[in-house]
Symmetry: C2
Subunit: 422 residues, 2 copies
């Protein structure tokens, strides 16, 4: 790989430095929002941005914007992603997008300087707060507050499993800011695919044309606490037994639909009191349902509610179920998709259109401004785990594509704002 240009080496060396923050022994990273690792990431971001002459602003939910003004009063092309990670996660998810945005911005500034051009729009690289929703639910928190989907006060009050609030976590690392965030004209993001399509088809870059319909269910199963030894089986109301049936029901919900039409699972599942010789009193779970077709999710949800009622009756436990984090299918603007395709082709790279099953900050931003979302290939399609990987060459191709997209976006006249998201 010694045939890389000096500029490409800058990108790769920078990634090698970034991946050391919160590194795990198995080759991944562990960088939960609002932790000391998050602070280190932010200091890295600030230092890189200031070195390039950007002014860093931090807003009330801890989003960081590295701003460069060309035209006073004009809105900004925002480009970025997130530096937080899932627990024991991969090095690429989010972090690659922020790194690529910083380097794309650097290259664009350098081209503009060389051309002697001052564009009509301004430029900001963004590191969104808590995209993952791992420590604090919901995910896409920072970009959704920016987009007006969630209120700042509601999100600051969200607590983790230990009862620590977003407000206190941000204060503890010194990153609950008070700066006015830059006004966006449009948004661009590059991310790893987290799927296998690009790798399987040998395509360089994916251009996302729509996001899946997703929703979560907040499920509480209430039984009665009792002694595992002294309580007859017939006298028990075991919340975990009810929950176990619900876990299987959520998993099997996909079988009612064509293969690939629905994904569903339970990722968070907490048992109370969680003592070896106590029959569980309560289980709290979060289920995640996603499909390209909203009707599929709605049908699965309805079937699950019926199923939970039946399980509750059979197991003598009570289910409480609340919908949250419902995200409609959103199409990315055709103008942005074709702009990206054109730029990618002009770089001599191949592309194809994709949908995203996963949520991204670009999905939240796409609810208020035209957004462009690009994917680079993921090795084996794996993500949210330590063996998540993307090849160096794919990272570099992505930076080239993103640089071209940002350069084009800076020259565009801002369109009217899009309607607010639900």
């Amino acid at each position: 790989m010694s045939n890389h240009s000096p500029d490409d080496h800058l990108v790769l060396d920078d990634f090698r430095e970034l991946e050391r923050i919160g590194a795990t022994p198995a080759g991944g990273v562990h960088r939960l929002s609002g932790t000391p690792e998050d602070r280190l990431l932010r200091e890295w971001f600030r230092s890189r941005a200031e070195d390039q002459g950007f002014e860093v602003r931090v807003d009330g939910i801890g989003n960081m914007f590295a701003c460069r003004e060309f035209t006073p009063g004009a809105p900004y092309v925002l480009v970025g992603s997130h530096l937080d990670s899932q627990p024991l996660a991969g090095r690429f998810d989010g972090a690659y997008g922020v790194l690529a945005a910083l380097h794309a911005a650097r290259r664009v500034l350098s081209r503009l300087a060389a051309e002697g051009v001052s564009p009509p729009l301004n430029l900001a690289v963004v590191n969104w707060f808590n995209e993952e929703g791992a420590r604090f639910a919901p995910s896409l928190m920072g970009s959704s507050v920016y987009a007006g989907i969630y209120s700042l006060e509601d999100m600051l009050a969200v607590t983790d499993l230990d009862g620590v609030s977003v407000r206190d976590a941000l204060d503890s690392i010194g990153y609950r800011g008070s700066d006015e965030p830059p006004r966006a004209a449009c948004y661009a993001e590059i991310h790893i695919e987290q799927g296998r399509i690009l790798e399987r088809e040998g395509i360089d870059i994916g251009v996302v044309e729509a996001s899946w319909y997703t929703q979560k269910l907040d499920i509480t199963v209430n039984g009665e606490q009792s002694h595992t030894g002294a309580t007859a089986m017939a006298d028990r109301r075991d919340a975990l037994v009810g929950a176990a049936e619900a876990v299987l029901a959520v998993h099997d919900a996909t079988l009612d639909f064509p293969e690939g039409a629905l994904v569903s699972s339970i990722g968070q599942h907490v048992v109370e009191p969680n003592s070896p010789i106590v029959v569980p009193r309560r289980v709290h779970m979060i289920a995640d349902l996603r499909s390209a077709d909203p009707e599929v999710v709605r049908a699965a949800r309805a079937a699950l509610l019926d199923r939970f009622a039946a399980i509750g009756e059979k197991r003598r436990v009570e289910f409480e179920v609340d919908d949250f984090d419902v995200r409609e299918v959103r199409r990315f603007p055709e103008a942005g998709v074709s702009l990206a395709e054109r730029v990618i082709a002009s770089e001599g790279l191949t592309s194809r259109r994709l949908s995203t099953m996963a949520g991204h900050d670009a999905v939240a931003m796409n609810s208020i401004v035209p957004a462009v979302l690009l994917f680079v290939p993921s090795v084996d399609g794996v993500s949210h785990c330590e063996r998540e990987s993307t090849e160096d060459e794919d990272m570099l191709r992505g930076v080239r594509a993103l640089t071209g997209v940002v350069r084009e976006l800076l020259e565009r006249t801002p369109g009217p704002p899009r309607s607010a998201a639900r």
Copy 2:
């Protein structure tokens, strides 16, 4: 209830005071081992014991012995129970036994003084460390170390779910002692039944003649962490789905046997990484199997291991299963059972023989010295929950019975030590 004797009032008033330590809003208590609540309980115990002229010793695992020597060099009649509780538990489990032991000891001392008698054996009231095993597994920890069933060093190294060791927890409350514990001649304990037999039959006191065969299984389910959104269902290896099938298998294991022959459940169940949008990598669970008949537990265990293997294959996850905390059926000595029956009858109370499904410190002690275990009725048979209850009159009858038993035991010639437990 104003027709109680002044001495009975002392017992009930003392219980009202004790139940305020670690009290919960719903009328229960929350007193995990090695916590600030545990320290308050221990200070209460020390103060009560010293007021009665006992010398308090604390051994290396935090067991507290309130000692009164009559015959220098002679072994001790130990009488007691435990002050720790399950999370959000009842006020009676363990605490009643320690309270009853303190008052029985007080009454015995007063009778001996009135009679001008000095018995051949010595007397100690004991508060065992961590009977519940809620924060630190296994249960019966303090009495089992005393009985030589577990080694002190192994138990000091046990950690809770936050990684805090028994050693550090005891040090943090100042109760990792260095005193030599008193040598036991025999042991007596009174406890709430935690079942419905005494209440249903209208019997005052249960005399335990045997303990059930019990064992635990430490179960780890290993899958692969991935993204709940971006990972196709067919590519997932969801540890929680495998665990859910195992939870149901453990519950349904009882159906292979006659009703009441086996109880089984999973009380502890921890999901990793436990994030709403991550397919779980690992689940760690503890299953608890109990029966009066060891063959029933062995058959259930064998069937479960087969079942886990099948689940693992079907769900593409791996099970690791280890046996631990295996407790053989132990008969309590007939001499102690008949002594208790005689004393109870002489107090004008009724009794019947019972087995204990639940573990008790008396079960551990019964492996090294003759032990007597008495039960008082539990309202509705419920235990390990906040609505656990025992009537005042039943508590007072229990103190009378225990007082008589302790008085008799003090006069007995110590027999040879029993063989050590497995």
